[in-house]
């Protein structure tokens, strides 16, 4: 294939921003991304000595400009590595880093303030980078056909509820700077990923409902009912697993099932995995090292059987 996109791809240099959850609650997203991205023919190196993106409360804890300066430092580091594109798999990292990057590009006064801040460490950012979500890169840079071609161990018979969540698609998925890769309310890429892997994507009308995000971490009593709605819909759809791209969605929807069962008298025990874990498995990569399936607190029997038989 020598179409335009692929040629441009050859000249791009991707650097990877794993984000803080990659060293804690979402190691399995990091491990599986590091496995599938090269398997799909894209090289990426890690941002040198990256820092936190500011998550959802950085502006409250430290102020708006310091929170933006966190992204400024990461972007300056990436630019120094001669990157053209920054890839991240984390919804919050993407929201903050992409959001900061676009503002720094558009607002010259802000760029001046960020560079005035970076200058104390002899750093600067010329605003030449594009920050991209891993899912958008898979859709636009790799393409569904190539993902399908890479599958060696199709996940036959596995029913997947594609739970996209919020910040992976909102507010950037349907914008030019966000790559226009899908819609805000009814995105299809996650279902297409599942089907490319040989699984069956079930109808799942709460695919962009909110799990409560950081509020579920801070004050879960406020938001358990939001997670319950997602679990109920998954159960009703007959899904074997929920698949998600977002670290916080994965942790919230998986970890709070006992608390939800206690509060609402339900009996949920639904595995929640990352799409990238499913891909790693379908690509025939190692179930532990590459797919990180041992890190899920609720295992999918059906997925485990598929893994064993492969």
């Amino acid at each position: 294939m020598t179409e335009d996109g692929k040629d441009k791809g050859a000249k791009k240099k991707f650097v990877y921003y794993p984000g803080c959850s990659s060293q804690g609650s979402s190691k399995h997203l990091d491990e599986s991304l590091r496995a599938i991205v090269p398997a799909l023919g894209l090289e990426m190196e890690e941002i040198d000595d990256w820092n936190c993106c500011g998550a959802s409360v950085g502006n409250i804890g430290g102020g708006a400009l310091p929170a933006t300066a966190l992204s400024g430092r990461n972007l300056a580091k990436a630019e120094k590595q001669q990157a053209t594109d920054v890839i991240t798999g984390c919804a919050a990292c993407y929201l903050n880093t992409h959001g900061a990057n676009e503002k720094i590009k558009a607002d010259i006064a802000l760029r001046g303030k960020i560079n005035e801040s970076l200058a104390v460490a002899d750093m600067s950012y010329e605003a030449n980078l594009q920050v991209r979500h891993a899912c958008e890169v898979l859709v636009n840079e790799v393409g569904m056909e190539k993902i399908k071609e890479r599958v060696t161990h199709p996940l036959n018979g596995l029913k997947v509820a594609g739970y996209v969540g919020c910040q992976t698609v909102r507010p950037f998925a349907n914008t030019d700077s966000g790559g226009n890769y899908d819609t805000f309310d009814d995105p299809e890429f996650l279902d297409q990923f599942a089907e490319a892997c040989g699984a069956e994507a079930v109808d799942f009308d709460v695919k962009t409902s909110c799990c409560g995000g950081s509020v579920s971490v801070i004050s879960p009593e406020k938001t358990l009912h939001l997670i319950k709605k997602i679990l109920q819909a998954a159960q009703d759809s007959g899904a074997d697993v929920i698949s998600t791209p977002c670290p916080l969605c994965q942790t919230n929807v998986e970890m709070y099932q006992p608390a939800i069962n206690k509060k609402f008298g339900t009996n949920f025990n639904i595995p929640v995995v990352f799409y990238s874990q499913l891909m790693a498995k379908a690509f025939g990569l190692d179930g532990k090292k590459d797919a990180g399936l041992h890190r899920n607190t609720i295992r999918s029997k059906k997925l485990d059987i598929l893994v064993r038989n492969s």
């Binding site: 804690g24 936190c52 500011g54 708006a64 507010p171 950081s214 041992h294």
Partner: protein
């Protein structure tokens, strides 16, 4: 008093809307709001809020500073951005609510709020290590309520924590730190200094 907009005993600060317009990220779009309510109708948690986003915007415009800055709307917002993408007038509702939250925290309206306590623990981790140490941020947040409440919250979540440890998803040992921590702190201090300078310049124009 069910409807604070018709409560004549409310204090009004006529400069509030202008302050928000000038200082809150996205605040300059406040005047675009036509009160259609697409935001409140789209909000996953609007029914649990003191005031939905539509009403909150009206209250800002009416100068109801106290009522806005003490509203639980600021802390119940989950940053799902549904309101923002659906607004037919391009008002960045999520950013405005976030900005009002930061303002409420700065002005001392929300010292005891869960989110503000969590934000303090979070920023402590960022300034000390350059990264979020999920384990320490959570522990520091829990114990910000005092030893007894901290221990209670810890015990409540013990099963989750043990599950995470078993699956290798809770980091044990020393926190991960960025190598350039000194540089990062200097950058953040400089950014805070610039922000304070701008605030001062902004208020001297009034």
């Amino acid at each position: 008093m069910a409807n604070p907009l018709s409560d004549s005993s409310q204090k009004y600060d006529l400069g509030f809307a202008r302050w928000v317009y000038q200082n809150v990220k996205g605040g300059d779009k406040l005047s675009m709001c036509m009160q259609c309510g697409a935001c409140s109708g789209s909000c996953p948690i609007g029914t649990d809020m003191d005031h939905g986003p539509r009403k909150l915007i009206m209250m800002v415009r009416a100068g109801m500073k106290e009522a806005v800055l003490t509203s639980n709307t600021l802390w119940n917002c989950t940053h799902c951005y549904r309101c923002t993408v659906r607004c037919p007038r391009g008002v960045p509702v999520t950013h405005i609510i976030q900005g009002l939250g930061a303002m409420a925290a700065d002005l001392g309206y929300a010292r005891e709020e869960d989110t503000v306590r969590f934000a303090r623990s979070f920023w402590w981790s960022v300034t000390h290590f350059g990264r979020t140490d999920e384990r320490l941020v959570t522990a520091k947040y829990y114990f910000s309520f005092g030893f007894k409440e901290g221990a209670r919250r810890g015990l409540d979540n013990l099963k989750i924590a043990l599950g995470m440890i078993k699956k290798g998803r809770m980091h044990l040992g020393l926190p991960h730190k960025v190598a350039g921590q000194k540089d990062l702190r200097a950058i953040l201090a400089k950014a805070a200094e610039i922000e304070a300078r701008e605030m001062k310049e902004g208020s001297s124009h009034d």
